[in-house]
Symmetry: C2
């Protein structure tokens, strides 16, 4: 694939010294090989997902402090799960503590946007064949029009969710069992060659996934009408694959978590109020600060003042090395997020400066097949002043208004400062 050479002396990863904590964490991050193996109700597969618990985008947030937008998502989830009969009842139950909340990333899961996971939520199951480890993300509703992932819970949204749980998800699961699972790692590598960056552009990889699911779906015993509904849902949902790429990213970051002394970012998200990161050497602790408002390209009829603070676990995918980090792979997305070629190249070069490794199989054709920078070293973020830059869907700060555009954002520097301080406090001397 081309004759270009790529420097292997990645900052922070010297090759002639004993394996440092960051070497170990990066090696674990890079060793994950995600396979899409199933689509199941979350209650059957997501660890610790008890009845009455709703998982949302990180960091964890008490009901009292949730943004209006996230509250909307949580109310919709409660209605969808049957935890409450009305929005008012859901809000009361949440305030009283009988409906509880946690960060999806603390449960081997990811919740994109204002999304949520409850026991009946159908999730994609991504598995590392070597370790058996698993990670999860809800099957994507799509971002066009109204959707619970945008905090909306009108009757037609809930009707679609019920159809997804009752017909779509079982069909996808049967198809996956028939084809014996799908190599998500290979799909993602090829997706980068087909103009996707695997965060806000997944059009080609979604088609590739559909192509590989098709023989299984054809043999899944669907009625013609059901087959039409399932195929049509996938074909009109260009973000269908993002569920897999986000789960794959969670799988790799969980593999890298808990290495004493490592400053590798292993979780990152924003919940509409706070943004937060976790790092490998201080497992289980979130370091948070007020989330920033993304800046970018607004849809017609909206102004910058309409955009709410960032929300979604998908911030992690750039830390993993995809999304805006490899925006150079996805020229069709550039005008959507307001970036040109020079800026796309700069995003890649900037990410290299804080990365702890390189993805051997995730490469960018436009950049002479350069490997994607893998992982973010929180310490290097402070040293260089370069925070991870994320491309993100912007959601209206008022509940029920939906998406207002696409842009860029970053986790606040304070998250990294606190994380590194906490890591230093764990040092033996």
């Amino acid at each position: 694939m081309g004759g270009a050479s790529h420097p292997r002396d990645t900052p922070g990863m010297p090759s002639d010294t004993p394996a440092s904590p960051n070497d170990v964490a990066a090696a674990r991050l890079l060793s994950a090989r995600p396979r899409l193996v199933a689509v199941r109700p979350a209650g059957e597969v997501v660890p610790g997902l008890e009845p009455g618990l709703i998982l949302h985008a990180a960091p964890p947030q008490a009901w009292e402090d949730m943004s209006e937008l996230l509250r909307g998502g949580m109310i919709g989830a409660a209605l969808n799960e049957g935890l409450a009969a009305t929005p008012e009842e859901a809000a009361s139950a949440a305030a009283a503590g009988s409906i509880r909340f946690a960060a999806a990333q603390d449960h081997a899961s990811m919740a994109g946007g204002v999304g949520s996971i409850t026991a009946s939520t159908p999730v994609v199951v991504v598995e590392d064949a070597a370790t058996g480890a698993r990670a999860f993300h809800p099957v994507m509703e799509g971002l066009e029009g109204k959707a619970l992932v945008l905090g909306m819970y009108e009757p037609d949204v809930l009707t679609r969710l019920r159809w997804m749980a009752e017909e779509l998800a079982p069909a996808l699961d049967r198809a996956l069992q028939i084809v014996g699972g799908i190599d998500a790692h290979a799909l993602m590598a090829e997706g980068l060659r087909r103009g996707d960056e695997l965060h806000n552009r997944n059009a080609a990889t979604s088609s590739l996934l559909a192509e590989l699911l098709a023989p299984g779906l054809a043999q899944a015993g669907l009625t013609p009408a059901a087959a039409d509904r399932v195929f049509s849902f996938i074909a009109t949902n260009p973000q269908f694959f993002v569920a897999v790429s986000l789960a794959a990213c969670r799988l790799a970051c969980d593999a890298a978590d808990g290495v004493p002394g490592s400053s590798l970012v292993t979780a990152c998200g924003a919940n509409g109020t706070e943004a937060g990161v976790r790092i490998s050497g201080v497992p289980g602790r979130w370091f948070t600060a007020p989330a920033e408002v993304p800046e970018g390209v607004l849809f017609d009829g909206f102004t910058a003042a309409d955009a709410g603070r960032g929300c979604g676990d998908s911030l992690l995918i750039e830390c993993y090395g995809l999304g805006a980090t490899v925006l150079a792979a996805a020229p069709a997305l550039w005008p959507v997020v307001g970036v040109g070629e020079a800026r796309a190249r700069e995003l890649f070069a900037g990410a290299r400066q804080t990365a702890l490794g390189e993805h051997a199989d995730y490469r960018v054709p436009l950049l002479d097949d350069a490997p994607a920078p893998a992982g973010v070293d929180a310490r290097r973020v402070l040293e260089t002043g370069r925070r991870p830059i994320i491309d993100i869907v912007m959601v209206h700060r008022e509940l029920g208004r939906g998406a207002v555009g696409f842009g860029l954002t970053s986790p606040p520097a304070a998250c990294f400062e606190q994380a590194v301080a906490a890591l230093d406090a764990t040092a033996p001397d």
Copy 2:
């Protein structure tokens, strides 16, 4: 779709004068809207395809003057069609004139590589909804390993062709009838956004086509084993879509043909011996010269001396405005054909200088969504000295050796010189 503006004052297409012959021809070229509507045996649909006739890559070539490679393709076609029982019998029948030959492009068809069309060849049927006009290309065997499209006719090649005719093609046709045809124009526009240039890279567009065929295939009444074979054939054939893009190109060029006074190139090909072009104002006449040997990137184990002269009707696709003309859309193909970003941009800029229009829907994301240059003005080729540049699979000049690499080539200047001279000779004064 970006905020960049694109100059509309295309050379040769002034907007403030009455419609010139080239304006008329370009408008017809650009008006074609190809739909993939069927897959049928060529004998049922291709005009003038009588028994005993074999269509091959243009220009027309007498058996005596055919290259060894093209002869191989023709012998294989005769064996596959049952026109002869042995290669020797086929050669004798060809020499005696009982097997006859013609250029596919003179029959609303395209023959990629060393490919052929006989009565039983399954062809994709591309139709212009507005005019009912049709164009055809054989269902692609694939370019990996042995294939008749590379001039090979071993038993396993013929076995696969039989399977394609008996199981694959009827399944594809049923699927197309069930889904009501597929908008090839929209697929091609989206393919350019997914890293294909629609000549030697069609990976993403093939997946997109598979995705849209899948619901039809699921309802086509295939046995599970047959469904597996059909889906697997498509999923492992990244050039599957090229049959459609080449037929779409033929459809548009036929629509533009026969405009008195127009120097628009409406046919272009090479047959392993000669290369040739037709132009709109001198319909039905080929202007030929010895085909050049492509130059590019050879597979391991081959040298430049192994490559044969160019062969295939696909040279036309660059004249239409796709392929190498929009190589900037397909960075993953650059190292395969030995081109970098600067050269890819230059190919686009160069093609603009000889184009007669712009494709409103075929755009290149990397170039700020600039529209693909549409059509080649043979007169402008002479004035600028810029011949169309084509990316092409290089085939070994010895029969049976298959592909040796990928590179670039151009039709000889003499083709354009003769065409323009003939056009000038038709002028009233």
